[in-house]
């Protein structure tokens, strides 16, 4: 330490002069190295502790974070169940629909996206405007690299063929088949079948409330109307999923697990599509509705509401112009005239009132009544007119129904009183849900004292009761209620639930859609109308038999020469009140104020197989306009030699077993 000299001195001198204590230096070094290695060991312990903390203590947490990084679950939509008619004719199918998608990552970098899209437009003659292309270019630019973007949809087979041949020019563009609902019969069955359309915000809220969001994770369309909506749970199926491993950019690396979706169940309707076509055909240009059902079990074979519309519009996405046209059409095609349209039942309910009168002891089958030109309440000058200006003379209840005498039933209604009418007609199902498997049903109105008080804040007066006797006044019904009431009559009071789907009782949702007035499914009662003597129903039916087969029957002309014995009842419902001193004259009043024509008929009389109800808006007299249509429906069902007798669906079901 003390022997340090100037560095600038010559080398030999320096070497000579500096003494080094090599051992001391080695010891100094050893000490320093020792301390350094103490620090090294401390730092190493810190590293080990940190790794222990990450890999052993916090393993679970990091492991799950690693998994959520890489594992994505991709839901797979189940194919929707198909809908057949009672003979196995396909009414709703899933058609493959072709779309062209682009995966941004795979696009050819040599060309601009815009140019490629222009080429595609030219090649396939796509209806792109510059604005659409701008939008697509932007979508592709901001989109995820591996997430497909739909470029063109609804492509024809021809366009697909052309594209496939030229695919090498369009790197990153792929044809993607998708399943879309298609209704081959178009507008023929719309109001019964309904349709599916894209799930909207309202549906999402509905699904959330019912806890079904998960099952719809991959589903695009949902039943919006008709059977498609009512049996949504059956038709939809159960979602499947694909558990995949993705990389940091979202590209699928491999599939870990695959759970196939459970397809929706197929549904067989009770509809006979040929009969349905016939019904729609018979309605032609007339606003109105036809229902034909089997009164023994409530199976609906025809369910026509006119005018109709093509449900396929809704599936492909209805344009707002198209929708406004439907919405603002004065003929209101969106209304289901079978189950939503409220009409005065008019004289068609006279056989039902008869049952009430007999059971209440107000009349007997032998009671004689003199039918004058009008009926007045005791102490009142108001004239309730009969439809025949000069009256009908003496009659019993059979003739009263046959000729559709109004005064007879004015009198009966007055004697029975509104409470009795409400009780009996309620039992026949008026003012109530028919139980049909549709959400589109209105209750119409079976009036009562409470109803009038609630509605008009007025007391019910006897004058209100009198027109109820002939199905007018405050009374309105839907066609399905009316037909069901007659089915109950035919079944001698046994309950009948009209329905569109076979096995409806098993398939009906136990929990109805939330915005539906029916909150819960209630199993129907066995007996609808309780009477002292089942023969009372026969009196009503006999009256209906005379309507068609009697010498004065209102339906005798329309049903002249049938090969089967039918029974029926006409109805002509006034839309406007005719003043006391005026007579109804169809040609003098506006079309929309003309009478509604109604007719209910069943056949064969001895063992009824078919019950048909017809309502024609503003057509005129029921026996003149509605009766021939009812007859043609019965003819078509009972007499058509080509009518298939074997039910294909049953055969299929047997084969499966």
């Amino acid at each position: 330490m003390t022997f340090r000299f100037n560095h600038d001195s010559s080398k030999p001198l320096q070497q000579r002069v500096i003494f080094r204590d090599n051992i001391a230096e080695a010891n100094l070094f050893k000490g320093r190295i020792f301390i350094a290695f103490m620090v090294v060991i401390l730092m190493t312990v810190a590293l080990i502790y940190n790794l222990y903390d990450l890999q052993i203590v916090k393993y679970e947490s990091f492991s799950s974070r690693s998994n959520s990084n890489r594992i994505k679950i991709i839901p797979i939509a189940p194919p929707r169940g198909l809908i057949y008619d009672r003979y196995g004719v396909l009414l709703a199918e899933n058609q493959p629909l072709y779309e062209i998608e682009v995966i941004p990552e795979d696009i050819d970098r040599g060309k601009t996206v815009r140019n490629t899209l222009q080429e595609l437009k030219a090649l396939l003659d796509l209806p792109f405007e510059d604005k659409d292309i701008d939008l697509l270019v932007e979508k592709i630019r901001v989109g995820k690299k591996f997430k497909p973007i739909v470029v063109a949809s609804k492509l024809t087979e021809e366009q697909i063929a052309i594209f496939s041949v030229n695919q090498y020019d369009f790197a990153g563009f792929y044809v993607q088949p998708k399943l879309k609902r298609y209704y081959p019969f178009g507008s023929t069955l719309t109001h019964a079948l309904g349709y599916v359309a894209r799930i909207n915000q309202k549906d999402v809220e509905q699904l959330e409330k019912l806890n079904k969001t998960l099952n719809y994770a991959a589903t695009q369309d949902i039943g919006k109307q008709g059977v498609e909506k009512f049996y949504e749970d059956i038709l939809h199926g159960t979602v499947g999923y694909k558990k995949v491993e993705v990389d940091s950019t979202g590209r699928v690396a491999r599939t870990i697990e695959f759970a196939t979706p459970t397809p929706g169940k197929d549904i067989y309707l009770t509809i006979d599509i040929n009969l349905q076509k016939k019904a729609q055909e018979l309605l032609g240009e007339t606003k109105g509705a036809i229902v034909l059902l089997d009164p023994n079990n409530g199976e609906i074979l025809a369910f026509a509401s006119n005018p109709s519309y093509d449900p396929n519009m809704f599936v492909r996405g209805i344009l707002s112009s198209e929708y406004n046209e439907l919405l603002n059409n004065p003929d209101r095609p969106l209304i289901n005239r079978v189950s939503q349209g409220g009409y005065a039942p008019a004289s068609t309910i006279k056989p039902l009132m008869t049952v009430m009168g007999l059971n209440e002891g107000l009349i007997t089958p032998k009671t004689q009544f003199f039918g004058g030109p009008y009926y007045s309440l005791p102490g009142s000058s108001h004239k309730f007119r009969d439809w025949r200006r000069w009256g009908h003379g003496w009659m019993d209840v059979y003739r009263a129904i046959e000729i559709s005498c109004d005064t007879f039933f004015y009198d009966l209604a007055f004697k029975a009183g509104i409470d009795n009418i409400n009780k009996y007609m309620g039992q026949f199902g008026f003012g109530k849900h028919s139980g049909i498997d549709l959400y589109e049903e209105s209750l119409a109105n079976l009036p009562s004292k409470q109803w009038k008080m609630g509605r008009f804040k007025q007391v019910w007066v006897p004058g209100d009761t009198v027109p109820i006797g002939i199905g007018q006044g405050y009374w309105s019904t839907t066609l399905i209620q009316l037909v069901r009431a007659h089915a109950i009559l035919i079944q001698h009071g046994k309950n009948v639930i009209p329905h569109l789907a076979k096995n409806y009782d098993e398939m009906a949702p136990k929990e109805f859609m939330i915005n539906n007035p029916r909150k819960k499914y209630e199993p129907p009662k066995e007996t609808a109308v309780e009477v002292n003597n089942k023969g009372y129903f026969d009196v009503g039916m006999k009256g209906m038999y005379l309507v068609i087969n009697g010498p004065e029957g209102t339906g005798r002309r329309a049903f002249a020469g049938t090969k089967y014995k039918a029974a029926g009842k006409s109805g002509t419902a006034q839309i406007i009140t005719i003043k006391q001193d005026q007579h109804y004259n169809a040609s003098a009043i506006a079309k929309e104020h003309r009478d509604n024509a109604l007719f209910v008929a069943f056949a064969p009389y001895e063992a009824p197989k078919a019950l048909v109800g017809v309502i024609l808006e503003n057509a005129g007299g029921g026996s003149k306009y509605a009766a021939p249509i009812a007859r043609k429906m019965l003819d078509a069902y009972l007499l058509d030699p080509d009518h298939p007798q074997i039910e294909i669906s049953d055969k299929k079901a047997e084969k499966k077993k």
């Binding site: 500096i18 070094f29 090294v40």
Partner: protein, 366 residues
């Protein structure tokens, strides 16, 4: 010519225990790299080729007498400093930092050479002085260290600058720098740090510190790397997910998986057990180097091999600390394991120097 080459082989200056440790690390590197490069065979082969070059460089360095290093250290130091100035003037831009000097055929980083030359120079400086070193020579040595380091910081390449500064400072420490000076130096650094933060740090460097302090604050951007790295390590558990089965790396959630973050790949696939195995390999190499340092014959050799050994550990600590979230993210590869030739060749050369120190021994005079 041929004869000369054969005699070179015969007279290889190899320290067998150290060689075994290093080759074991190299083999581990290739195994992990194959997985970390997503089973990219081309990159793996490239790395194998580099490994052979590195072994060759090591043998070459080992064959040179330590006296040669002591004699030529200053010249090397001067050349490197000049090159660093050149890089600053006409350096090529790579990853936003000017580090590479393009010589037409070879592109290289002068800073890389300095990793070896810096400790050599400072060791040579102290070798001519009596130890323990007094204040003035220590100050001179410190200035010699900080001048080129400042040039590297300007590139800017903070990681390399720190590593080089540290390798030089280790020599000063080993040369016997007074403990009072060490402590007061530490105090000065602590006081200077805030000044540096506010006046001399680039935003991206500040961001790295922020990210280090709270990576979850910005999980998708600056915090992403460290979060994904910790997930990779943590999800490895005790025995790991198995070779080639690391999901974080194979599905590319882990950034720079084959370079700076290869440790995360290794820990994901081989777990805590694998980590302890790797640590044992490193410990064996370091222990052997420490043994050689202690038994070195003169001050220059002692200081140089001791500093190189400590620097090697420092590399490991910085990388592992960074990848496992103990230290902020700085661009330091995992020594002997990460992909890339430069780091591996430099380190191998350093081991070559240590081998030279171990093998070029005069007959002991008793």
């Amino acid at each position: 010519m041929m004869n000369k080459f054969l005699s070179l082989i015969k007279n290889l200056h190899v320290d067998i225990p150290l060689l075994i440790g290093i080759v074991a690390l190299m083999c581990t590197s290739i195994v992990v790299l194959y997985s970390a490069t997503n089973e990219n065979i081309d990159m793996t082969i490239a790395q194998i080729v580099r490994t052979f070059i590195a072994i060759f460089a090591m043998l070459f360095m080992a064959s040179i007498s330590p006296k040669f290093y002591a004699r030529w250290a200053y010249v090397g130091y001067a050349i490197c400093t000049v090159l660093l100035i050149l890089v600053l003037i006409m350096g090529h831009v790579g990853k936003g930092a000017e580090r590479w000097l393009d010589l037409g055929i070879v592109r290289f980083q002068p800073a890389e050479f300095l990793k070896l030359i810096m400790p050599m120079t400072i060791a040579a400086f102290f070798a001519k002085r009596v130890l323990p070193a007094r204040f003035l020579p220590c100050l001179v040595a410190f200035i010699m260290i900080m001048f080129p380091v400042a040039l590297i910081v300007l590139q800017p390449d903070l990681g390399t600058a720190v590593l080089i500064a540290v390798s030089g400072c280790f020599i000063i420490y080993l040369a016997g720098l007074n403990w009072y000076l060490i402590i007061s130096g530490a105090v000065i650094v602590a006081l200077y740090a805030p000044i540096h933060w506010f006046f001399f740090m680039y935003d991206y460097q500040k961001q790295r510190i922020f990210t280090f302090l709270n990576p979850e604050s910005d999980p998708l951007h600056s915090g992403y790397n460290i979060i994904q790295s910790k997930i990779a390590i943590g999800s490895g558990g005790m025995v790991g997910k198995g070779w080639l089965h690391g999901t974080q790396s194979h599905l590319q959630f882990l950034p720079e998986s084959h370079t700076d973050f290869i440790f995360a790949v290794y820990c994901e696939e081989f777990g805590f057990a694998g980590f302890l195995f790797l640590l044992t390999l490193y410990a064996a190499v370091i222990a052997r180097c420490a043994y050689i340092s202690i038994h070195a014959q003169n001050t220059f050799e002692r200081l140089l091999s001791g500093a190189l050994t400590l620097t090697f550990f420092f590399y490991i600590f910085v990388n592992v600390g960074m990848v496992s979230g103990l230290l902020p993210v700085v661009g330091v590869p995992l020594p002997m394991i990460s992909y890339g030739g430069t780091s591996m060749i430099t380190l191998s050369a350093a081991f070559g120097i240590i081998m030279a120190i171990s093998t070029h021994r005069k007959k002991q005079q008793y």
